[in-house]
Amino acid sequence: MRRISTKTVIQAVRDLAISANLELGKDVIHAFEEALEKEISPSGKAILAQLIDNAQIAREEKIPICQDTGLVTIFVDLGQEVSIVGGDFKAALEEGIREGYSKGFLRKSVCHPFTRKNTGDNTPLIAHIEIVPGDKLKICVVPKGGGSENMSRVFMLPPSAGWQGVKEHVVRTVNEAGPNPCPPTIVGVGIGGNFEQSAFLSKKALLRPLGSRNSNPELDQMEKELLEEINKTGIGPQGLGGRITSLGAHIIMMPCHIASLPLGINIQCHASRHMEVTL
């Protein structure tokens, strides 16, 4: 067994929380640049140019890309030959977030559902822990704001709806969201599984680098079709009109029950922040 201490985990999570909020991925910046070339609306162009500047200012001046530094989801791939020593693993993830949000001057955006009292340290977080072969520990920290998460949906479609039905629901969801999730967005789509799995897959789909192809040619084609439909809506950057409503549509699909067709749609704003490390 390879031993990894909770102290190492805390440090890793703390650093990832800070860097995820300050440094936008190269793939996202590249997608902004491409969008700027393609966009024909003047306000859309102005906004895309602002987003490119914003990412640079955030990185250089070390302030968050967006003030909504989000509720944090952490995806963990825990090698089955790794032994976590020195304390509770989940508590270590929490401590990492607590330290990162305090040391990094990040906004604490977590509260009680009814009293709305802030928990004060941006915990708890949502952890998805998967046991995988090997002796490595991969941690991916994903801060996500409320604006885009609020526009996400799960639909339990009748099997007869088929791909056509899926497409219609995705486009309708994007249309209803309009300007609220800060377009240009990235649309994560989880098809199949069950109720919660479709939602989980739709979020996981967002982690694939923007501009990369789906390894399954059939899904790759479906993604292209979907993105084209989404960009016909005219919503555009910030919803003020334009041809670039989304920068990408990513699909993960798996088999489902013979009676269902679950569909998860996770809308991600342009501040698509995630940072990972393999220990």
Binding site: I63, Q67, R107, P179, N180, C182, T233, G234, G236, A271
Partner: protein, 191 residues
Amino acid sequence: MKEFSSDRIIELKTPLSIEDIINLRSGNRISISGYIYTARDTAHKRLMELIKSDRELPFPLKGQVIYYVGPSPAPPGRVIGSAGPTTSYRMDPYTPKLLEMGLKGMIGKGRRSDAVREAMVRYRAIYMAATGGAGALISRAVRESTTVAYEDLGPEAVRRLKVERFPAIVVNDILGNDLYEKGQKQYQILS
């Protein structure tokens, strides 16, 4: 009536008078300088309670601009942290009353309710969009920040911000035009 082209940037100084906004049209790009006030969900709720019980507000509303923002904490040496707009519809239930009391402008992101849009026409006020998620860029336009009320609310406290060349776009003008509607229609591809 004079109309401005959409690519020229119009300078706007707060507080706003009716003359300042009468010629502004949905789609105009603007640059705001002067003092603006921050307020979001809970601050609005508290302002309404004060209004209902006829008590004095922590800042004057007449001719003022409210910015819907909950900034991230200011790191040492900075006036403010990241400071982009939050989604405006959550403030809709409180907004008509504030407009009636003389509020002239709001900065946020996302569509407003029909009631707010009607109140903007009736009381002659405008709604402007700042770029959501461009909090680092927008923070550069903020030169001073003073907490004027509700410090206990942390990021939701009411602050008076001195801004210089704060970038925004007019969404709703005093004639009732709406850029979210107009813009989407203009670029929609119907199949």
